[in-house]
């Protein structure tokens, strides 16, 4: 006799217990510490902080451990935790000109004030598996020298001085908050940048790549890419001035893009912008290219129908937590709606069959 499926609760409990065991793996192997993840898988930690929209390396490392290394799952854990946190206030805008740069490169000038600083990059590593790491991860100390004191000026400022690049006028309008207000179209640039900085890295990369291959090509040069830490300051109403409350590591990418001009305006380069938590340069460059593509309307360009130009398409599909949830929800039971469709298809087929029989009889 048929008995309806029961015991969902037991099944869930058991699945969770099994999951915990699988997460730990072979107990003869030493357990990973949060500090190990934070220090040795730092680029994973950075991605989780960037897309989780929360700068806390220890929490991101914990999320990665809990998620068994599934970074989207880890981002989800961080996002769900983040929403429960109280908000004490808003920082003043960070000054990336005052960044203590670990890395700073420009593709548009051979040399420039502040210098080209390669920093800790994979760029010129030969992608050969280093079998030494399998046995022993100890490394000799890297050569060091004192940091050059003073601010590192932005490349776009040099161009701006000559009027060669579009102005980016100072704007004190408070930006909208994507996490507190429903997304609404049309989205201004501040909202688009906010969505892009927490967007899925893979999605942003794919879109950016598509612009390079001609889907709204905008001839991007990396004017500058810089990675380093900046102080975060907050106005304290009781004090009447801003004090430093901490620092965050950021990656900033400014692209110098195809120029435009008209009879009345001489030609000028245009800008794309990327700013992301942590050392996340693939994401920051992608963001700058997509930002530039989305600006077609305000720059008076044609909409060529490219995906990267379509703000509604980009913003509604860039969030990997929304996407993964909805994609994976089709695993949930749908047998009630399926049954309804099954009945309909049976009915349509029955009628089609009946018609054929009737035709044959005639």
């Amino acid at each position: 006799m048929y008995v309806a499926v029961k015991g969902g609760e037991r099944a869930i409990e058991n699945a969770h217990a099994w999951l915990a065991e699988e997460r730990r793996g072979d107990t003869d192997i030493a357990e990973l510490s949060i500090a190990q993840i934070r220090e040795q898988l730092s680029l994973a930690v950075n991605r989780v902080m960037a897309e989780g929209s929360l700068f806390d390396p220890d929490l991101a490392a914990l999320a990665i451990k809990q998620a068994r290394g599934d970074l989207i799952e880890a981002i989800f854990l961080i996002r769900a935790y983040r929403t429960t946190l109280p908000r004490f206030g808003t920082s003043t805008p960070v000054d990336t000109g005052a960044m203590a740069c670990d890395r700073r490169i420009s593709a548009t000038f051979k040399d420039l004030p502040g210098g080209q600083v390669l920093g800790p990059t994979f760029d010129y590593t030969h992608r050969l598996l280093d079998f030494k790491l399998a046995a022993d991860g100890e490394v000799p100390e890297a050569p060091a020298r004192d940091a050059v004191p003073g601010d590192v000026p932005h490349v776009t400022d040099f161009l701006n001085r000559e009027g060669l690049i579009e102005e980016a006028p100072h704007d004190d309008t408070p930006p909208p908050d994507l996490t507190r207000e429903p997304l609404e179209m049309p989205a201004d640039r501040a909202l688009r940048l906010q969505a892009l900085t927490r967007a899925d890295e893979g999605f942003t990369l794919g879109l950016a790549y598509s612009t390079q291959r001609g889907y709204a090509r905008n001839h991007a040069f990396v004017g500058e890419l810089r990675i380093g830490s900046v102080p975060v300051e907050m106005e304290i109403p009781e004090l009447g001035f801003a004090i430093e409350v901490g620092e965050v590591v950021l990656t900033e990418c400014e692209t110098v893009n195809q120029f435009k001009g008209s009879k009345t305006e001489p030609p000028q380069f245009t800008r794309g912008y990327g700013l992301v938590f942590g050392q996340t340069e693939r994401k920051a460059i992608s963001m700058a290219l997509v930002d530039r593509a989305l600006r077609w309307e305000e720059l008076g360009e044609d909409n060529v129908g490219a995906p990267a130009q379509d703000a509604e398409f980009v913003l509604y599909h860039a969030d990997n937590i929304q996407a993964t949830g909805f994609l994976e929800h089709i695993k949930l039971p749908h047998y009630v709606d399926f049954q309804s469709e099954l009945e309909l298809v049976r009915k349509l087929r029955r009628e089609a069959g009946a018609d054929q029989v009737q035709e044959a009889a005639e």
Partner: protein
Amino acid sequence: MSAYNFAYLDEQTKRMIRRAILKGLAIPGYQVPFASREMPMPYGWGTGGVQVSAAVLTPEDTFKVIDQGSDDTTNAVSIRTFFERTAGVETTTTTSDASVIQTRHRIPEEPLQEGQILVYQVPIPEPLRFLEPRESETRKMHSLEEYGLMHVKLYEDISCHGHIATAYAYPVKVEGRYVMDPSPIPKFDNPKLGDMAAIQLFGAGREQRIYALPPYTEVVSLDFEDHPFEASKAEHACSLCGAEDSYLDEVIIDDAGGRMFVCSDSDYCESRQAAGHKGKDAA
């Protein structure tokens, strides 16, 4: 769970959702945008319904959760446990004992009463979405009451298949104004939407929309004079309780194509069996 507020959400979020619910009730069938929060469960798994439930629950409520009509499906169990832990509410599987019922894909068979609230989980709240993917366009269509596209689609079904080929999430018109997605309930449930004694609230978390039907509201399934709407179900009686009026799940019982039909509403089926009703395969 004491680190979290009653019913998980912070008070500011609840106020925002509550304001959206009141506007939803004042404009039946209209989708009110709300700043959906990231919940500790995935989008698409009931985050909208959970946020609406969290905003309406009081500690004295008795809460029921069904998925596909059943209290025992894993996602229903998971959401029920969430509110047991975060709101400390009593839970039940008995439809008539529940003051708040969260549902995915079904309306209970037993008619709901005044004082009860039915909260639907909604994946895609926009009934026009599959005809027009752009939110900016569909919002305009609603504002202009421009629903021709929907009628054209339904009519194309008829000319192609001889019937309207929509079996679930069958669109309805509310109080002669807004076309509304009733969530993916089978069209068998559509007639229950209108003139219901209970309050119906719809939450779409990922899509950031809340909408509502006050009690005793006119809800009409879209159709044509020559092709009237038809609520359909499998033409069988329940094998366990013998009910002929309930929506049925088809269950495959062997490798030889054997199947049986049982009530999708597990509480309805069990109470009928307890009252002595027997289907052909009952023990």
